[in-house]
């Protein structure tokens, strides 16, 4: 049951109440994964909505990002006589950092806002209340499926984005220079090892979870009123984007300790 805001809290008390609410929401999410029936059909539908429908946006952005990076890096590397390092530099920077973070930020904007707005509007139109009073479990149907779908889809979107970014880099490189795709991709792949790919992949799982969780929390706990839908969507984007950077900062510290001593 969603917490009913029965009295106005202000300042620190409101902040702590918010943290407490999020902890309760998180434990409810965990409990609902394992209790009752899992909503497989809704999970698959959400994977399609979240993953497939975001692919074009992630693809275009990653393509441009790869091409721009090559065009930006080229003058610097040429001045050192190291233009042969362009594929390697692009590959490492894209897979370690730029690909996951850019994909996560795009997903924060597209997915967190749409989940926040969708659940917020369901709250305003009493659809969530209707599920609750009928004895159904809206957390299981609406929240668990969405959070897990985003957690699964963001890593996949990142991998797709990375590949498209490398393709963008290849095309940009061939505008100014000439390099065969075999050599280009060989250099890209050779530059990447386990310690580059694994931490980047693991952090995208956390990015996905944060985006899904924030979107669902903001939407599910929005107030009743049409402006609350906008507030829920907006605050979902801002909070999810912030979490992406926080997780990234933590991830880089952990990766440095574990892999780059």
């Amino acid at each position: 049951m969603a917490a009913v805001q029965e009295q106005e809290l202000t300042g620190w008390r409101k902040w702590f109440a918010g943290i407490g609410d999020q902890c309760v929401f998180f434990t409810s999410f965990l409990r609902n994964i394992f209790t009752g029936g899992f909503e497989w059909s809704e999970f698959v539908r959400q994977c399609y909505e979240i993953g497939y429908r975001s692919m074009m946006l992630v693809g275009i952005t990653s393509f441009i990002m790869g091409a721009v990076l090559i065009l930006q890096l080229r003058p610097s590397l040429v001045s050192f006589g190291e233009e042969s390092m362009l594929p390697t530099t692009l590959s490492v920077s894209l897979i370690r950092e730029i690909g996951p973070v850019i994909t996560a930020l795009i997903c924060s904007g597209k997915i967190a806002s749409s989940i926040g707005a969708e659940l917020g509007s369901m709250k305003v139109t009493e659809q969530i209340d209707a599920m609750e009073v009928s004895g159904a479990n809206p957390l299981q149907y609406l929240v668990v499926t969405r959070i897990l779908a985003v957690t699964c889809m963001v890593p996949l979107l990142t991998i797709i984005g990375d590949v498209i970014g490398l393709i963008g880099g290849f095309i940009a490189l061939n505008i100014t220079d000439s390099i065969s795709y075999v050599l280009y991709f060989h250099k890209c792949v050779a530059a990447i090892d386990f310690s580059d790919f694994l931490p980047a992949f693991v952090k995208t799982i956390f990015f996905g979870f944060a985006i899904g969780f924030v979107g669902c929390y903001k939407g599910y706990n929005s107030n009743k009123g049409t402006e609350s839908v906008g507030i829920a969507a907006n605050s979902a984007v801002v909070t999810a984007s912030l979490w992406v950077f926080v997780i990234d900062a933590i991830a880089v510290q952990i990766t440095s300790i574990l892999f780059y001593k």
Partner: protein, 260 residues
């Protein structure tokens, strides 16, 4: 304000089991005391209409009955069990016996009518037999006269149709108690009357006990076995529609002044 007691309970339901028993119910939001001292008994098979001005807490009472809100004081028993003392599982079982029709209908707008009706059957009653599910859907849609709307989306339906589908979705789990939150608000007089008559016919068909929150006097006249009038967080009068119509109490007269 002195309470007007036209009838303690309608004669036809005196021997029937008390399904909902509310004693001294209190509920505040911040400093605003919405429910001050609510006392009400609803008997099996009875239709009780709650009349009152907007913002008087009429909907708060029925939200307390389904456990959406927790009262600050008093006692609220449904089928003899105190709602505030129920754990999540007990509350879930109670809700399976109660149908709640929201003012807006609250249809799931991303689902078709069929999916809306399937939702409580598969998620609440955990039915798996496709044939039984289809039979129940057809039965309730036939009941509300919208059999041909089965594959439409809520956005393709009019306000009255949405209310009917909302009613069908509520009735599909065959609840023992029905709670209606302003079922005719926002509808034209003809559709309002149709919905009121539908509520009455569904109540007879499914033999439910009902509480109907409304401002609509025509709805109250059609559906009520007993009417209670709420003012300033308390029920100030109760009786049949006809007896309250003749009441000399100033507040009660205000409600009935446009009724011939």
């Amino acid at each position: 304000m002195e309470a007007v007691k036209e009838h303690k309970a309608p004669a036809k339901s005196t021997k029937k089991e008390v399904v909902i028993a509310i004693k001294g119910l209190k509920k505040s939001f911040g400093k605003k005391e919405v429910l001050k001292d609510i006392n009400l008994e609803v008997h099996a098979g009875e239709n009780v209409v709650v009349l009152g001005k907007s913002g008087q807490g009429k909907s708060v009472t029925i939200q307390c009955i389904v456990g959406m809100l927790v009262p600050d004081g008093g006692s609220l028993k449904v089928f003899g069990d105190e709602v505030a003392d129920m754990n999540a599982e007990e509350l879930k079982h109670l809700r399976m016996k109660i149908g709640f029709l929201f003012q807006s209908g609250a249809l799931y707008d991303s689902m078709t009518v069929r999916e809306n009706l399937e939702f409580p059957l598969t998620r609440v009653l955990k039915l798996k037999d496709e044939h039984e599910i289809q039979e129940r859907i057809n039965e309730v849609l036939e009941g509300v006269g919208l059999l041909d709307a089965v594959d439409k989306l809520p956005s393709d339906l009019s306000g009255g149709m949405r209310k009917r589908i909302g009613l069908a979705r509520t009735l599909i789990i065959k609840p023992e108690i029905m709670l209606y939150d302003e079922p005719t608000t926002g509808l034209d007089p003809i559709t309002s009357r149709e919905i009121s008559e539908l509520i009455l016919s569904m109540q007879k068909k499914y033999k439910t006990t009902s509480i109907i929150i409304t401002h609509d006097m025509e709805c109250a006249r059609i559906t009520a076995d007993r009417v209670v009038i709420m003012n300033d967080g308390k029920y100030i009068a109760e009786g049949t529609f006809e007896t309250l119509h003749k009441s000399q109490d100033q507040i009660v007269k205000e409600f009935f002044k446009d009724i011939s």
